[in-house]
């Protein structure tokens, strides 16, 4: 670090030191005595506050053999703040469920401090741990040190991105599959795709152990994996009675029975009756009565596809692709990774540049997508059947001379690419 000592000049930022919420300004100001470049960072941030203008430019730098993971930034004001001329972020794949030993955290702090500005973020919206403030050589040395200590750097660009999961079975009684194990399995199996961007665009997995979806998978990932169960939920009638004694019958009616989206709960005396065939596994009753009720014993996950934020076709939630899949054994997990490869192949062969899988499905239609990834249609994939009557029924088209049915041109054909109409 070639940072010259620079006096702090941060009148506006200082206003972020009052109040009861922890202040990153106070922390970084104190730390700037140890790492002078942090004073430059704060002074530039102060300028942004004064001018409402941003002074970072994107750059590109890659560790040898890797196609992402270092988010390179340089300051427009490097004349004034030479320490910020190259001030990159290194993404580090987080431990699944964001669990740490203090040894692991200290290791990250030491590596961050040794090679760069010593600023850490827990965590980026991508799930990674973010280490801030490395110049080019520092970034590479940081990556080297991380790898020597068993860490690995995260994803960026048109690649599989770093995964994220809820705490799952490690500390949650709702978890219907082992989210941490699955996250590690997917990360490790597909690590090549994470480090070397070769997809048409980014692809994210997020994993939640139950439909409470603490990992926000449904809108934040291209393939949400949400734990669920088949058959009956577990009911402990003794604890149901205790709940009623404690909270009262009215609370049960107002906050549990009438709030079930499919009205499948009723009460006989102090016994709860569940019509499991109508339960859509929303989790509400279990959340409220979590001592008396539990997910059923035949557990697995629902696989959805296509969640993403607004660019370009508007927000899309993940849509049901596999209503139920077991994820207990290594074989289950391998079957799933095989399926994922099939989905990737279809999407990457036929998707356009910068087309997220949700946009791809929007363009070609879900029925064409299902055919492409060889999944049988299932009424649980839809809220209601179609209402438009323009349909290419393959079975009902005219026969050709050799008796074969006419083949409808596949809608995903690359020839339909682009907007140019002339």
């Amino acid at each position: 670090m070639s940072a010259k000592e620079m006096a702090l000049n941060t009148p506006m930022l200082n206003e972020l030191e009052s109040g009861d919420w922890p202040s990153f300004v106070t922390d970084l100001k104190a730390y700037s005595k140890k790492r002078p470049v942090v004073a430059q960072l704060l002074n530039q941030l102060e300028e942004s506050y004064q001018t409402k203008w941003n002074y970072w430019q994107g750059k590109i730098i890659n560790a040898p053999g890797y196609g992402g993971g270092i988010i390179a930034r340089g300051s427009d004001k490097s004349d004034k703040y030479p320490g910020l001329a190259n001030f990159h972020t290194v993404r580090v794949i987080e431990p699944p469920g964001w669990v740490y030993s203090t040894d692991a955290l200290r290791d990250l702090a030491d590596i961050a401090e040794k090679n760069g500005a010593g600023i850490l973020q827990f965590h980026g919206m991508s799930g990674d741990v973010l280490l801030l403030g490395f110049d080019d050589a520092g970034s590479l040395q940081c990556a080297e040190d991380l790898m020597n200590n068993g860490w690995d750097i995260g994803g960026s660009g048109a690649a599989m991105r770093t995964l994220q999961c809820c705490v799952g079975q490690a500390r949650c009684e709702m978890a219907c599959y082992d989210t941490m194990k699955m996250t590690k399995h997917l990360t490790d199996t597909f690590i090549h795709y994470l480090h070397r961007p070769e997809f048409v665009y980014k692809f994210k997995f997020k994993l939640s152990g139950c439909p409470n979806d603490c990992a926000n998978s449904i809108v934040r990932s291209d393939m949400p994996i949400i734990g669920t169960w088949r058959g009956a939920m577990q009911v402990d009638q003794k604890k149901v009675a205790e709940f009623i004694d404690q909270k009262g019958m009215e609370y049960l009616i107002d906050n549990v029975l009438t709030r079930c989206p499919t009205r499948c709960l009723s009460v006989r005396g102090k016994e709860l009756v569940v019509d499991n065939s109508d339960c859509v596994r929303c989790m509400h009753c279990i959340n409220v009565m979590h001592k008396a009720l539990k997910p059923g014993k035949d557990r697995g996950a629902t696989i959805l596809v296509g969640g993403k934020r607004t660019l370009k076709i508007g927000d899309t939630m993940g849509a049901v692709l596999i209503p139920f899949i077991k994820l207990e054994t290594d074989e289950d997990r391998d079957n799933f990774t095989d399926f994922v490869e099939k989905v990737w192949e279809f999407w990457n062969d036929n998707g356009m540049d910068h087309e997220r899988i949700g946009e791809f499905i929007y363009r070609i239609g879900m029925l064409t997508f299902l055919k492409g990834v060889e999944i049988e249609p299932d009424p649980r994939m839809i809220n209601r059947p179609r209402t438009t009557s323009y349909i290419k029924f393959e079975e009902l088209g005219p026969s050709r001379f050799d008796g074969e049915r006419q083949q409808n041109p596949p809608v995903w054909n690359r020839e339909s690419e682009g907007r140019e109409t002339m």
Partner: protein
């Protein structure tokens, strides 16, 4: 700087089993139930009868290495050396021995100065991104605006006094890294990108043409230079091109504003997940403390607190009382811009004769 010998090693995700608190490892997949002992303090009880306490506190997300070490020292003293973070940047200290709870809480509140809370029906920590601290795209700050807003909402973080949990997210451009929340704050631009033609040679043009959701960008030759132009009528000021190409400057310190959106919900509980919807727009981007944002968020929370039924998330409350009443109760003006004109628009219209008159 020492020589690097980096070669692709593809090590994958860290071995989390080394980072599990011993009681987590022992009761893995065998938890029975949990209770909230007080705001910010949970106990998880295993089928074995083991009790694991969790002390949840709001972290600033961005920390110096020294602060990380301070956190570690506390966790070594009271937590057998184990802790975790949540998806909303709360920190969770894991405690195996009940007698360590009170001294730990003391240390977190006094030594670190981090507030306990974010459990149950409270306002949790704000999902946020990089902003002026370290992104190349922001029209506003992230960590600073979160700090200012959480200062103002801290009572609702420390107490469980809302109908249900409230997730807030704050994003400093329309890419919206922080995503949908019960309440979401995003930056809004008000004119088409300004193109720096001189700088335009640095990447392949088709990338930026392809990224535009409105097909507003087309290749052009200006003063003999290969560049692009923007069809102003088509452009919807989304800034997607700016994310792709630094020469398409969308931000404007004079005209950019903030807008607040409500009713995003990712959980499936009771009702299907929903996106956030526009509540108020045209809020000034006003560092260092963004008082207008705080005021609007507080207005929303107050109305929700008064009107929401237990367990009803903010968006569920609004769907029940109707958007007309939401605007009445908050006093926010309903404007023509609240009517959607995106490709998804037709599904947002009321196509029934069911109205509150």
């Amino acid at each position: 700087m020492s020589q690097t010998t980096l070669a692709p090693r593809d090590q994958g995700a860290p071995d989390y089993t080394k980072y599990l608190h011993p009681l987590m490892a022992k009761n893995y997949g065998k938890w029975d139930y949990h209770e909230r002992l007080r705001p910010g303090v949970l106990v998880h009880v295993g089928e074995s009868g083991d009790k694991l306490y969790t002390v949840r506190a709001g972290s600033p997300r961005t920390m110096s290495a020294d602060t990380v070490r301070k956190v570690c020292a506390i966790a070594d003293k009271y937590c057998e050396g184990f802790l975790r973070f949540t998806s909303r940047s709360n920190i969770e200290f894991l405690v195996g021995k009940k007698e360590n709870l009170d001294p730990l809480i003391q240390a977190v509140e006094k030594e670190l100065g981090w507030p306990l809370g974010g459990t149950g029906p409270s306002v949790s920590n704000i999902s946020h991104t990089q902003g002026w601290l370290h992104c190349n795209l922001p029209g506003s700050d992230a960590a600073g605006s979160v700090k200012a807003l959480m200062d103002d909402l801290i009572e609702d973080f420390k107490n469980e006094q809302l109908p249900n949990r409230v997730h807030i997210s704050s994003s400093c451009c329309q890419i919206n890294c922080a995503s949908h929340g019960d309440i979401s704050i995003i930056v809004q631009h008000h004119h088409a990108p300004r193109i720096n033609h001189k700088n335009m040679q640095i990447c392949e043009l088709p990338k930026v043409v392809a990224i535009c959701p409105a097909a507003a960008i087309r290749p052009a030759t200006i003063n003999g230079m290969e560049t692009v132009e923007v069809v102003e009528e088509k452009c919807m000021y989304c800034g997607a091109c700016h994310g792709q190409c630094p020469s398409m400057e969308i931000r404007d310190a004079q005209t950019d504003t903030l807008s607040i959106w409500v009713g995003g919900k990712m959980s499936n509980a009771r009702s299907a997940p929903t996106f956030m919807k526009l509540a108020v727009w045209g809020i000034p981007n006003n560092p260092p403390r963004w008082p207008e944002v705080s005021a609007a968020v507080k207005t929303i929370l107050k109305a929700y607190k008064e009107g929401g039924k237990p367990w009803e998330r903010l968006g569920e409350w609004i769907e029940r009382i109707g958007w007309q009443r939401f605007f009445e109760k908050t006093g926010f003006p309903f404007t023509r811009y609240h009517i959607d004109d995106s490709p998804e628009a037709l599904s947002t219209l009321n196509r029934s004769a069911m109205l509150r008159l």
